[in-house]
Symmetry: C2
Subunit: 452 residues, 2 copies
């Protein structure tokens, strides 16, 4: 077997659950090949969230454009002994030929609202499920968490430092993108900088200080190479480290251009206050204080509220894994087959049948409520789902530069009613109302299904 890490799973059509393939073979055998509409939505707002920032569409479209089964894939499937040659032949010739509508990345979304709507021959629409879910899930979870962190920082610089604790290298670069999209100023991840054109930042690690016999010597050496650097001061004793920065400034005089220090342990508010005083007394009021160390939106909000003189934060682990809400109950559901609306009745998992549209109503620059309706209804408000792919080809309007997505996300967050911007659950939550016609469709279909 070759090295699994040589493979890029984002380019593998067999990144799919086995049942997608067994169902696909059954569809093929039964000639169930009429157009199907699947919608991606979540049923419930994750605990502690007031909104979700939609993200991941770019990866979905890129996946669909590349989607195909290789000979190697087919050989592997053949080895299972359950797939027929005619079906494997059919897989060999597949490309994605469907239409996709979607909510633009960076848009805030709420329960029951379709984020992505796929119309394609049933077999294609079914086979792409796993990766479409996987990407929108990951990226929306991360963008939502990052938006909260940025909101909590209330204008202070936020940088993603989470690569090492993100769930994999792929998640690491997508974390950087999602964070930037949601308002972070950049990332520590160099690959993400290279791939997405995101600004990349870095300071120094404890190991650098430790590799020198003397902390002050380490600081001095580092600023010789990087005069406008950020010095990490807590390797041995934070305030002693701060005093060493002051000493360095005295030594260097006009040549001292160190821009900031980083605090990475202890009581950050208290240490920041003391460091600020030490710097200000030494005439170093231009030296900024940057804090890291297990921060999340809750701790950042506390620091901000305490008035701690912190100018920026580097946010790692808890952002990287979206610690308090690491998942969304996102699902990809068949809502229409061959022109007929579909619904399931599984208890506790209600859903709305048929192809839908979301109409968003705003007033005085703030969004006030959404209407979930049939796709062909003419309801007040701005429709959120827009065409992004037709006949398997991405529309040019669906090639959105990351800067534009970031700008859109900023506007979206600015348009949120104040209670929704809070880190605490808003009561009442944002209103998603169901149109009368859609509600009537539910009842009609429920009666039909229950009479079966």
């Amino acid at each position: 077997m070759s090295d699994p890490d040589d493979q890029n799973p984002l380019r593998q059509a067999v990144f799919t659950d086995l049942y997608e393939l067994t169902m696909a073979q059954a569809y093929d055998a039964e000639s169930l090949d009429r157009p199907a509409v699947f919608e991606l939505h979540f049923r419930q707002m994750p605990k502690g969230r007031n909104y979700v920032v939609a993200a991941g569409l770019e990866s979905v479209l890129s996946y669909l454009e590349h989607w195909h089964f290789t000979d190697d894939d087919l050989d592997y499937l053949r080895s299972h002994g359950v797939f027929s040659e005619p079906f494997l032949d059919r897989l060999a010739g597949l490309a994605f030929t469907g239409d996709v509508m979607a909510v633009p990345e960076g848009t805030v979304v709420f329960p029951d609202e379709p984020l992505v709507q796929v119309e394609a021959p049933l077999l294609e629409a079914q086979l792409i499920e796993t990766l479409v879910l996987n990407q929108v899930h990951l990226q929306s979870v991360l963008a939502t968490k990052a938006a909260r962190v940025v909101t909590a920082a209330a204008g202070r610089t936020v940088i993603d430092f989470g690569s090492r604790r993100a769930h994999g290298a792929e998640a690491g670069v997508k974390l950087a993108r999602a964070s930037y999209l949601a308002g972070a100023v950049g990332t520590s991840n160099v690959l993400a900088g290279k791939l997405y054109g995101i600004p990349v930042f870095g300071t120094m690690a404890h190991s650098y200080v430790q590799a020198h016999e003397d902390e002050l010597d380490a600081f001095d050496r580092f600023q010789q190479l990087y005069p406008e650097t950020t010095l990490l001061v807590d390797t041995y004793d934070t305030l002693a480290g701060v005093h060493k920065v002051v000493e360095l400034s005295r030594r260097l005089g006009q040549r001292f251009r160190v821009r900031a220090i980083r605090l990475d342990s202890g009581n950050l508010a208290e240490l920041a206050g003391k460091a600020r005083k030490i710097f200000d007394r030494a005439g170093l009021d231009g030296v900024k204080i940057f804090a890291t160390s297990g921060l999340d939106e809750y701790q950042i909000a506390e620091l901000v509220e305490s008035g701690a003189p912190i100018d920026g934060v580097g946010v790692g682990t808890k952002l990287a894994v979206a610690e308090d809400a690491p998942y969304l109950d996102l699902s990809y559901k068949l809502v229409e087959y061959d022109g007929r609306p579909k619904m399931k009745l599984s208890p506790g998992k209600p859903m709305y049948p048929g192809r839908k549209q979301v109409f968003r109503i705003a007033q005085d620059g703030r969004i006030t409520r959404d209407l979930l309706g049939r796709h062909d209804e003419d309801l007040p408000g701005q429709p959120l789902l827009r065409p992004v792919m037709q006949g398997g080809k991405r529309l040019s309007a669906a090639r959105v530069p990351l800067e534009d997505i970031r700008q859109h996300a900023r506007e979206e967050l600015d348009r949120l009613p104040q209670p929704l911007r809070s880190l605490q659950p808003a009561s009442p939550p944002y209103a998603v109302q169901v149109s009368d016609r859609l509600r009537a469709d539910v009842e009609t279909l429920r009666r039909e299904l229950e009479s079966c």
Copy 2:
């Protein structure tokens, strides 16, 4: 810019935090290029965990074997304007030349114990930090969660169904591997099956049932293709679905070979009990009951305790994101440079200096305590860290088939004292004792550092 999803981040040396590169350039400028030893360890057991299952070494070794900077990487770095040509030249010629010791994958580990120990020229050892951490972190978090799920299932079949909610496609395949390593019987992820040789399982989705006008017809069609299949019965009404399976068995007589049903909503214990009775009364005592729907180790333990007749579980989201403990405070610390032990004193983040070894003491087939000592001590117990790479070349002993790792993990879990196997925190936790010599080293170094 090319499509970022075309890149495999596991094969990019620039999957690194920027500070690794700025520090590396400083090391280069200062000729700080003596051998350094870094150790990967976690300080605290994650909340609610009694052990961590080490995993990810295979990816680390594979990364180190492939590690190099491309011309493209260097062009990107050049564009930052902070890296000198001589330094970029040095990066261009780099390969990993170090030695690595590690705890075998599947081994249970505890706070302060090195999982991986890297000895290499300082610059190399520093530059690889981010990805080494990222992989051991992800895979150990997932393997630990999976081990708990498998333990809770108490012999019932466990299958990983988490690909769609794992944090990215890479995390999806690694979830499958980590789950299998920790005792799951397989995964739904076809790519993981292909890459790792893991058994792949699948049932059917609601969309298949919905694509048919009639649920019974859907069941019948599916079993024609896959006679020994598992039928999903909760699309409309679970018990009605169960009765349809019975009806199908009457229709088919001897030809009925359906192996199981899947319950995916509602009160699983109650529905399983009722379904079991219906099947048993119909003489279908061979039909197994498989449950899914937001399960984790806590709910599985409850189901098992309730005596619910559930034969197997498919575990998705909460396993995939390790919901209750999605991260480990894993770090990669310089412990020795140029033969001298190193330590930092940052408050709340204690660490032990110098190159270490873990000695594990067992009695009557159960592990009883670990001794953390200097690497050159002769202490009782079995040393856990073993050589896996020398001079940048992987040792043949470090090519371990996944089946052997899985067997090792099973033995490791069997050797845990009973209180540690519990889902609840064991009190006292497993004992990791520090040798007298290592303790003396800490004190000596602390005095030295504090006198600076």
